[in-house]
């Protein structure tokens, strides 16, 4: 397994192993491989608190893999993941995850309220039942995302945007300080995307770090404050305007973006 020979010039690259306890998510040398193919190679990144961060890059860049390795759902080969300065095992309660829509069994016999209440299970504990006060708390979280009327609807009968809001409400119920979303805007219309962004912005305003895998470079600057541009390796990271340079994009997408696309993106920023 030999890494591609790329020298990374990156002003914002964090100093190795210097992880402050107030950094919501810190990656140091994170390396993940599926069989002999590296999915992530030696990635360093700090996600800022109280901001919306995007993980962007071409297909197969390791965006979803990064989220999953942070959550401990795929094993890491090397490197470290710290959540608020602690290893994941000690910080699970601080992390909420909104899965990709196609990773959810929408036929499952559960209402919107049932799913949001699952966010409270960590605090309820083994073998203790979900009580009325838990259901009321879950209902309040649904109301925060404008879904109070649909609490008893089976999840498969909700629209794509409503389904995303249910999972965001579940993240609210978890009271996590780091919320990670895998392609939250995939397959939803522009109006719904706007509504979801409003909810997530409100969340970030309370100091929560919102980290989302995002595939649409055109809307990146409108929605996110911070970005990690990824193609197995870290290509660039920082404020969106600094990340979306022609050179970095060309490096991440390996010439797959036409010059006109690059210029349009540069203008958007």
């Amino acid at each position: 397994m030999t890494p591609p020979p790329v020298t990374i010039v990156d002003s914002e690259r964090p100093a190795p192993w210097a992880i402050a306890p107030d950094v919501p998510l810190a990656l140091r040398g994170l390396t993940v491989a599926y069989r002999a193919t590296p999915a992530l190679w030696n990635v360093d990144w700090d996600a800022p608190a109280g901001a919306m961060s995007a993980i962007v890059g071409p297909n197969g860049a390791g965006k979803s893999t990064l989220l999953k390795s942070v959550l401990g759902l795929v094993p890491t080969l090397a490197g470290e993941v710290r959540v608020f300065g602690a290893p994941l095992a000690k910080a699970r309660g601080d992390v909420a995850y909104v899965p990709q829509r196609n990773a959810v069994d929408w036929d499952f016999p559960a209402s919107a309220l049932d799913v949001v209440a699952m966010g409270l299970y960590g605090r309820i504990g083994w073998c203790r039942p979900v009580r009325r006060r838990h259901r009321e708390a879950a209902r309040a979280r649904l109301a925060e995302v404008g879904m109070a009327d649909l609490a008893d609807r089976q999840i498969g009968e909700l629209s794509g945007g409503q389904q995303q809001r249910v999972f965001i409400a579940r993240a609210l119920a978890q009271q996590a300080r780091l919320v990670m979303l895998d392609e939250p805007f995939a397959g939803v219309d522009a109006a719904t995307e706007h509504a979801l962004v409003t909810v997530l912005r409100g969340l970030a305003a309370t100091g929560v770090a919102v980290v989302a895998v995002h595939h649409d470079l055109a809307t990146l600057a409108d929605t996110f404050d911070h970005a990690l541009l990824l193609n197995v390796r870290r290509i660039a990271a920082g404020p969106v305007s600094e990340v979306l340079t022609e050179e970095a994009l060309q490096r991440a997408y390996g010439g797959r973006l036409a010059p006109t696309q690059l210029r349009a993106l540069a203008r958007a920023v």
Partner: protein
């Protein structure tokens, strides 16, 4: 109709066995179906056979504890073999299970044929259909003395075993309802919240094996296969909430057991036949019929309701 004493001696133990077997399988089946592991119930019901036969050959008795141990060891062996076949032959889980459980069941059948096991009530018909009718409660002469201590002690042992398994299944589902729901729906969140989805998944598999072994002696392997799937699948058609689905699956399991048993035991006599039908087979037929009825006529998810829902906007417009 039989006399009260005959009913209590012959029909009651068989009926209780059938209800307990169906209840244990039906409750467990909810989680197999929702985890898309319905084939596990099928596999477990088959692989216990060689374990039970070997246990009989080793221990020399048809003691239920020895059988339980043999069946569980076979289930454990099967789990390992399925993993090995998946890995070595690069087969998907369903195919690997199919290879292992059919082979192990066949070994069990061959063992029965080649050993003296066929002299006791272990034979291939029993392996498929069970021996519900062989459980006799000798002692009580009427309802009045049925609860007397000496008569309770005379309850057939398989009735006691299966009743305990059914009650334990219900207790486990009630106690771990939240854990089962979370790990079945979202392993990612379950892991993140410290709920050990692999442990819970393994426990579901192990419990499936225990239920399959316990049910095997009384009702064979056909009925558990049907009851692991039908009540849960039928109940899913009737409701969109997990709690209600589980209650409904329990009710359906009991209804199928009682309905199937009475249909097998008495209907042939009323219609001029001379012998009863096999009860385990009839219960599976009733469960299948209930599934078909639910698929067609369930309030919201049935074919009829969906066809009407499609027509309504057209009629209104």
């Amino acid at each position: 109709m039989p006399t009260v004493a005959a009913f209590i001696t012959v029909d009651l133990p068989a009926l209780v066995l059938a209800i307990c077997a169906c209840l244990a399988c039906g409750l467990t089946g909810n989680f197999l179906v929702l985890r898309r592991q319905a084939l596990v119930g099928d596999a477990m019901s088959h692989v216990v056979l060689p374990g039970i036969v070997v246990a009989w050959l080793v221990a020399g008795t048809i003691d239920s504890l020895a059988m339980m141990a043999g069946g569980l060891l076979a289930a454990l062996l099967a789990t390992g073999l399925i993993a090995a076949v998946r890995h070595l032959a690069r087969l998907e889980a369903g195919a690997a299970m199919g290879v292992v459980f059919t082979a192990m069941f066949a070994i069990g059948v061959v063992l029965i044929e080649r050993s003296a096991a066929r002299d006791v009530h272990l034979d291939t018909t029993h392996a498929l259909m069970g021996a519900l009718e062989l459980a006799l409660w000798l002692g009580p002469t009427g309802w009045g003395d049925a609860l007397a201590a000496k008569n309770l002690a005379a309850l057939p042992r398989e009735v006691v075993t299966l009743a305990a398994v059914a009650l334990t299944t219900a207790a486990l589902v009630a106690l771990f309802f939240k854990e089962l729901r979370l790990t079945t729906f979202d392993t990612g969140l379950a892991t993140a919240l410290g709920y050990r989805p692999r442990l819970v998944g393994g426990a579901v598999m192990a419990w499936t094996a225990i239920v399959a072994v316990a049910a095997f002696d009384a009702v064979g392997s056909i009925l558990p296969i049907a009851m692991f799937i039908c009540p849960a699948a039928t109940a899913r058609m009737l409701t969109d909430r997990l709690g209600r689905q589980i209650w409904a699956s329990a009710a359906i399991a009991v209804l199928a057991a009682a309905g199937g048993y009475f249909a097998a035991a008495f209907a042939p006599l009323w219609t001029g036949g001379t012998a009863s039908l096999n009860a385990a087979g009839m219960i599976a037929v009733v469960a299948g019929a209930m599934q078909v009825a639910a698929m067609l006529f369930a309030p919201r998810h049935g074919a009829l309701a969906r066809a009407l829902a499609r027509r309504r906007p057209v009629a209104a417009g």
